[in-house]
Amino acid sequence: MPRITVTVDGITYQEDVEPRLLLVHLLRDRLGKTGTPIGCDTGNCGACTVMLDGMSVKSCSVLAVQADGNDVVTIEGLAHGNEWHPMQKAFHEEHALQCGYCTPGMIMAAIDLLRDDPDPSEETVREGLEGNLCRCTGYCNIVRAVRRGAREMSQRSMPEQAEQTEREVRTP
């Protein structure tokens, strides 16, 4: 049985796994990371979305062995202590969840979406979240939340950017 080393939400695990074990089952059944749920078996619903080395993946479509040597962030690893991630806050503020089953995956996918476009239009958000299904909200408030989260994330990172710009200006 292959032995893998994987970091999940900042903790390093060494596990002997069957080659066929899905990453999502490693997370849920072996590591007790039940914050990441499973909504389908075909990679359609996106409920199980996590970050694998900074990129969103559907953890039902990734084998645990493929995560060997990698860093996984789940919904449980987003907050800093009691300080929620801006996207978590935005989902709460905009009432972007009802039953909440799709929410972990939706939040992870939304954060990933902003890597490409930190200030997405409504259309960009809708297309970017195509792989994450929600049955409760009709998506209106999810779209609002993602755009709100994006604004808050860019405001938060603005001081860093300003600093960077300053450095760039000084360099020549």
Partner: protein, 862 residues
């Protein structure tokens, strides 16, 4: 009409009604509180049933029938038993003596056929997916592996797929008793008189396709026992009903059985059920003495979570040339699937009272026949009977408007109950307590920009633009807040419609509320806290709401049918009133005053006209100490209340949409969607809006995307989310929502319920818009889901010659000119796969529609 509308005035009226309906002293009710539930949900600290791990837990996997209909001739589990990690393997035969029959709690007629429904098939399977054996193993992979080693021999029998064929003589039988489950009739007024010599008769047949509810959380069951008592965790909407039913089914005494609905990831009716897996979970844990878990895969779910809709609806309207409805006749075939589950037969019956919609008429006649087929049973799905009814009447109203050359809004105006006429007893005998269809419709027209869009539509028609514009109208009401127990009894339903709550002040002044409702996304923890905060004058954050565990909430009727607030919320309020009564008595005692002189405001009981008072928190602590209480005063500030409403509630609204239809590709694009709902007074506008959004999306999904498809042999073709298309964010537009507010008079909060409104209203709005866009092509119906292919084929089938020109196509002022080009309803309308208008049924006196009638519009109607 809408150009004369003063949108500002309406907004003012709405604002005014907002104020009027808010109870005096309300601080929390009406406020857009963010939800208490969210914290655990956005941080991944939820307890879904599949998250539950118990020491020594075993995993169950089910082997399911690949045949739609077959006799089981042999099951050999011996090889599977030797597989690694396998603890036990069972076939139906192993449970035959103890598994009983899954219950049907709604025998709608005395002669209804309720077939035996073993949780695990013993002799015969009747749909693909029916459980025939199971493996219990030490992990879920090993359980799944061992399924492959079970051998089952089947002797195939004929599948029964089509309802009309199922009822034909000589059809293969699903059950020995035949394929008819029941025929249920209902009538009001003289229907023959209404149709006799009626100047206009619309006769249409609509197909309500089969749907899969698709809650995002798949079902899961955990069952455990300590040898004497049993605990069942299930992803269910109905822990209380489930407990009763499981006790009756399994023989486990009710007081030895605890049912827990942990966090539940959506239901939409699909978790309003007593399932085979719940019963079998208990039986397996009873045998093995170990906790067991089963979690369905999505494919299992698509096959075996009960389905929704699947009805063939023939609806006829008799009307005068002025558009006034004389009578409505409905003849319904409802596909039950292979068995009758918890409320399967009752679903179409719930719709029976809604085919009259918001309209006045002299006569109504309804017949429903429940039909067995070799498919997954149907049962409650968001709206449950009422979306079907609303679809049929709203589609047919558009057809009538078209026949008469009337604007569809104008036709509705002529027929609907006006706001002065409430309370109004309908032809179905229901008393609609309140409503204002004019206000909601006027608001919706203004928000959509109705007249401007009609002008654009006319322009596109003139230009024969390949992209046509359609405007969809849906004005609806629904009966919800299930329900007065006496009414449910008169409909042969097996349970009541009351709801329970208990409210207790804790010694430190905090409040615990126990509710019999069982939320799974609705936000009861937040909304009930708002109600209690106002009623007791305590901070919102000081209230906790407990639910979903029969050991904590011993009594309840659970969550479905938009009933939770309307029935359960009122029970919470009434329990608060009792707590206050008790606190008042104590306050009087402590303040040495008469109870009559004590007044209550903002959490403090004061002696009238003085500053002397006690807060409710002080009183709570005093009852904890209990050192100085009035004589015979029971220590504690707590109370129970059970509320049974006198009437249903009747939310209503007007939904309008504009859809572009590309006639060359069949693609449809929702350009705008406006929903103005009247759900009475509102406890939390944020939650209400969310419910409306989600409901609209689900109704649109039926109109455009979703269908559970079985082939002719009964194999399901839509077993994954790649095949059964629930819409994603990119498939849907933003929705414009607004509200009017006419408080319900049937409960002290004035609330009406909002869980199903969006789903009920949106499906006909969408299809009406698509048909409206295609009127110039002689199209009178597009079967749902209106996929691009189906729209395109409909246009092609109508043919280029069918273009009837803008003058006739519009609903606005059509004339008799150009009759010869008209494609009558007999040709273009109702081109459904199954329904054939005019040939169905045995009514030789049926007044069929004629093409000539359809275009003789009266001039000057507008």
């Amino acid at each position: 009409m809408s150009e004369q509308l003063d949108a500002g005035l309406i907004a003012e009226q709405i604002a005014e009604s907002d104020q009027l309906s808010r109870p005096s002293g309300a601080h929390e009710v009406g406020k857009a509180r963010r939800r208490k539930e969210d914290a655990r949900l956005v941080t991944g600290r939820t307890t879904w049933t599949d998250n539950i791990q118990l020491p020594g837990m075993l995993y169950v996997a089910f082997l399911r029938s690949p045949m739609a209909h077959a006799r089981i001739t042999r099951v050999d589990t011996s090889a599977a038993r030797t597989r690694p990690g396998v603890v036990a393997v069972y076939s139906g035969q192993d449970f035959a003596d103890e598994q009983g029959s899954l219950p049907c709690a709604w025998p709608v007629t005395e002669d209804i056929v309720i077939p035996d429904h073993p949780p695990m098939a013993v002799e015969e399977v009747r749909y693909v997916g029916e459980a025939v054996a199971c493996v219990v193993a030490t992990d879920r992979y090993k359980a799944a592996d061992a399924l492959e080693a079970i051998e089952v021999d089947y002797e195939p029998l004929d599948a029964v797929i089509d309802m009309t064929e199922a009822l034909a003589e000589g059809s293969p039988k699903v059950h020995e008793t035949g394929n008819k489950a029941f025929t249920w009739k209902f009538a009001g007024g003289d229907i023959d008189a209404a149709f006799r010599d009626a100047p206009v008769v619309i006769d249409r047949t609509y197909v309500q396709q089969r749907l899969i509810p698709t809650a995002m959380e798949p079902r899961a069951v955990v069952a455990t026992t300590d040898g004497e008592t049993f605990t069942l965790y299930s992803s269910t909407q109905i822990p209380h009903v489930l407990r009763v039913m499981l006790a009756l089914t399994t023989g486990i005494p009710e007081h030895k059985l605890r049912v827990i609905a942990p966090d539940v990831g959506g239901g939409f009716g699909s978790k309003l059920q007593v399932t085979a897996e719940e019963v079998l979970g208990l039986l397996i844990t009873r045998r093995l003495g170990k906790p067991v878990k089963w979690t369905e895969s999505r494919t299992e779910g698509n096959l075996t979570v009960h389905h929704g809709r699947d009805q063939l609806q023939r609806i006829s309207i008799a009307a005068g040339r002025d558009g006034l409805i004389r009578g409505v006749r409905v003849d319904l075939l409802a596909d039950m699937g292979a068995y009758l589950m918890l409320v399967t037969p009752g679903i179409p019956i719930l719709g029976a009272f809604m085919y009259n919609g918001i309209y006045k008429m002299d006569a109504y006649d309804f017949t429903c026949t429940g039909v067995f087929t070799t498919k997954m049973p149907t049962d409650a799905y968001r709206g449950a009977g009422r979306p079907e009814a609303t679809f049929a009447i709203e589609r047919a109203m558009d057809e009538l408007a078209h026949e008469l050359g009337l604007d569809p809004i104008e036709l509705r105006r002529r027929n609907w109950i006006t706001h002065e006429e409430f309370p109004y007893t309908t032809i179905c005998g229901l008393t609609y307590d309140s409503g204002n269809y004019e206000a909601a419709t006027d608001r919706a027209l203004a928000l959509l920009g109705y007249d401007k869009l009609r002008a654009e539509q006319a322009d596109r028609r003139d230009r024969r633009d390949p992209v046509q514009l359609g405007i969809g109208v849906s004005t609806f009401t629904e009966m919800c807040g299930l329900a007065p127990s006496r009414v449910l009894g008169s409909l042969s339903y097996g349970a009541g419609g009351w709801e329970h709550s208990s409210v207790r002040m804790l010694p430190t002044g905090k409040v615990e509320v126990v509710t019999g409702t069982s939320p799974h996304g609705q936000g009861h923890e937040t909304a009930w806290s708002q109600i209690v905060a106002d009623a007791l004058g305590v901070p919102f954050d000081d209230v906790s709401v407990l639910h979903g565990d029969t050991s904590i909430s011993h009594k309840g009727m659970d969550t479905y049918g938009s009933r939770s607030l309307v029935v359960g919320g009122i029970a919470v309020l009434q329990a608060c009133e009792k707590v206050k009564d008790k606190a008042r008595e104590l306050a009087a005692h402590m303040l040495e005053a008469s109870a009559d002189d004590i007044e209550f405001a903002a959490g403090t009981f004061k002696v009238r006209g003085t500053d002397s008072g006690k807060t409710i928190q002080e009183l709570a602590l005093a009852t904890f100490a209990a050192h100085d209480l009035p004589d015979r005063f029971e220590p504690g500030l707590d109370a129970d209340a059970t509320f049974d409403p006198d009437n249903f509630s009747f939310p209503h609204g007007t939904h309008l949409c504009a859809i572009e239809v590309d006639t060359e590709t069949g693609a449809t694009k929702i350009r705008s969607y406006v929903a103005v709902d009247d759900v009475g007074s509102v406890v939390n506008p944020l939650i209400v809006e969310g419910q409306v959004h989600g409901g609209i999306a689900q109704g649109i999904a039926q109109a455009l995307f979703e269908e559970a498809v079985y082939d002719s042999e009964g194999n399901m073709l839509t077993t994954t989310m790649a095949d059964y298309l629930i819409p994603s964010a990119s498939d849907l537009p933003d929705f414009t929502t607004d509200r009017t507010e006419t408080p319900a008079t049937s409960n002290p909060l004035g609330v009406k319920g909002v869980g199903e409104a969006g789903t009920i209203a949106s499906t006909p709005a969408i299809v009406n818009a698509i048909v409206d866009a295609l009127r110039p092509y002689g199209v009178h119906d597009v079967r749902m889901p209106c996929t691009p292919e189906r729209v395109w084929r409909t246009v092609i089938a109508a043919g280029e010659t069918a273009w009837v020109g803008p003058g006739l196509a519009g609903n606005t002022g059509g004339t008799a000119e150009g009759n010869t080009a008209w494609v009558g309803p007999g040709l273009a309308g109702d081109t459904t796969d199954r329904g054939e208008p005019g040939t169905a049924g045995d009514r030789t006196d049926w007044v069929g529609p004629t093409a000539a009638e359809g275009t003789e519009a009266e001039g000057g109607d507008r």
